[in-house]
């Protein structure tokens, strides 16, 4: 098979970018999308040109490294897969394929198709963790969690943090990502101590990073490689409202610990 590729090339974060056309020849229908790009890069290296930079790691759909907006759809035309799980047989022979990076202010381009997704890490650092006590290992089955709750938490926890939700959203909103993380931890007893603080801190981080807000178009759900449901966005909103109510019940002005000594 052969394809015409229009690929976004950009030398660095502060440089302008543009589309460059490449021909991909002798492509096997069994090649994955990334293998096809590898073979194009081999050709570029052989000609002494700079290869196209793109992110990849596990190549089995679990690491969340690969990205690429292919013909206007993050992770390409198939649902529920990452770009590395997309095969060239999915495209008609001779097709023109347009390849762009994730585009969002919060995801600055590092080079070509590689974007800086550390904004998602910073959101996690703001509250996407649990407090773990030191000491002896806890006996199994001490914390009882119902099957339904465990399954729902697992559905949310299957997020691999690839950022396709941000890429697909017209507002570049990470609501599905944050919703999945907040729901996953709010559903389990281990996540309860930070439950109120977490959702506030993570949503504050979202605003700080310059992401947009959710318009409930559900485009994120359609491109999510793990098919995470937008119900977790509703859960996120509910957790946030709950946090507002719970927090306002706390004392408004706690006494200063040093009040007596002054």
């Amino acid at each position: 098979m052969k394809f015409t590729l229009n690929i976004w090339r950009q030398k660095g974060p502060d440089e302008g970018g543009r589309f460059v056309t490449y021909e991909a020849r002798d492509v096997s229908s069994g090649m994955s999308f990334l293998e096809m790009l590898d073979s194009v890069n081999q050709g570029l290296i052989a000609k002494g040109e700079e290869p196209v930079a793109f992110e990849q790691d596990c190549r089995e759909g679990i690491c969340g490294s690969c990205s690429l907006v292919i013909n206007g759809i993050p992770h390409g035309p198939d649902r529920g897969i990452t770009t590395c799980q997309l095969y060239m047989r999915r495209f008609p022979d001779g097709a023109v394929i347009i390849i762009e990076p994730w585009r969002a202010r919060a995801f600055p381009i590092i080079k070509d198709l590689v974007v800086d997704r550390r904004a998602l890490d910073r959101i996690m650092q703001a509250g996407g963790y649990i407090s773990a006590h030191t000491g002896g290992a806890v006996d199994g089955n001490v914390l009882l969690i119902s099957k339904d709750q465990a399954e729902t938490a697992m559905d949310a926890a299957s997020c691999i943090g690839c950022g396709a939700c941000v890429a697909a959203c017209k507002n570049a909103s990470p609501a599905l990502f944050v919703g999945a993380k907040v729901s996953h931890l709010a559903l389990l007893p281990q996540g309860k101590p930070e439950r109120t603080r977490r959702v506030k801190a993570m949503l504050e981080a979202v605003d700080r990073e310059g992401f947009g807000s959710c318009s409930n178009q559900n485009e994120c759900e359609a491109v999510c490689p793990k098919r995470i449901s937008v119900r977790f966005i509703a859960t996120l909103n509910r957790e946030y409202l709950r946090a507002g109510v719970v927090e306002s019940g706390l004392p408004a002005e706690p006494e200063s610990p040093h009040a007596e000594s002054t």
């Binding site: 807000s213 359609a222 957790e239 409202l241 507002g244």
Partner: protein, 226 residues
């Protein structure tokens, strides 16, 4: 510890306020439609209803001021969020394909603008009465203001009918996404109710638009006469 007001200054907080103000306006629109359906009961019923509302100035003005505040809040937040959202993607995609976003959800800003223009026109036309000077304000046999006669006069004009029907289409399109989206923004989801929530927007939109258009068309087609 933060104040609740701070809580609503975040984007999710703004969305919640938008959803609540929008739902408030939606409730008004439903009752507005139900009240106006009394045109089918004849001039006496509608004029008496209008007089009944005018006889309660505190209720009337509380509603008017409330609606104005809700609409202002809704519009200001919509503009704020839209600007922020545009800012979040400085370079647009060369190709962008929607996978499941509804037409209504993609045209919220446009349908909202159509709706705003229509509301301004509607207020100038039937509330203030400055658009059409040929409409005469007179009393009916019961001594009430003849709102019925005003309506019949207005909707015999094809241009007015076209503008009102266009306004209703804007309203329907806006409500189709708005109601379902508000439910999601308020964090309501449940496996047993999700189908109901999804259907809420289109259902409210259909009922309101059908009710309002029925009034307009009944007069235009001569089914309801002066």
């Amino acid at each position: 510890m933060t104040r609740p007001s701070h809580h609503f200054q975040s984007t999710v907080g703004s969305k919640v306020v938008m959803a609540l103000s929008g739902l408030g306006l939606m409730i008004y629109v439903i009752f507005h439609m139900l009240g106006n359906l009394q045109v089918f009961e004849g001039p006496h019923a509608l004029n008496a209803y209008a007089a009944f509302l005018r006889d309660m100035p505190i209720l009337l003005w509380t509603t008017r001021i409330g609606l104005l505040s809700l609409a202002t809040l809704h519009i200001v937040l919509a503009i704020q969020l839209t600007l922020r959202n545009r800012h979040a993607r400085p370079i647009a995609y060369a190709v962008h394909e929607y996978r499941q976003a509804s037409f209504a959800s993609r045209t919220m800003a446009a349908s909202g603008l159509v709706l705003l223009l229509f509301i301004v026109f509607h207020l100038l036309h039937l509330t203030a009465g400055v658009i059409d000077p040929s409409a005469v304000d007179r009393l009916d046999v019961g001594g009430h203001h003849d709102i019925y006669g005003k309506l019949v006069h207005a909707f015999q004009n094809p241009i007015i009918v076209a503008l009102y029907v266009a306004g209703q289409l804007g309203l329907g399109l806006h409500l189709t996404h708005a109601v379902t989206s508000s439910i999601q923004t308020l964090g309501l989801e449940h496996a047993a109710f999700n189908r109901l929530f999804k259907a809420a927007g289109p259902t409210v939109a259909l009922v309101v638009v059908l009710g309002n258009v029925a009034i307009i068309m009944a007069i235009f087609l001569g089914i309801v006469r002066g």
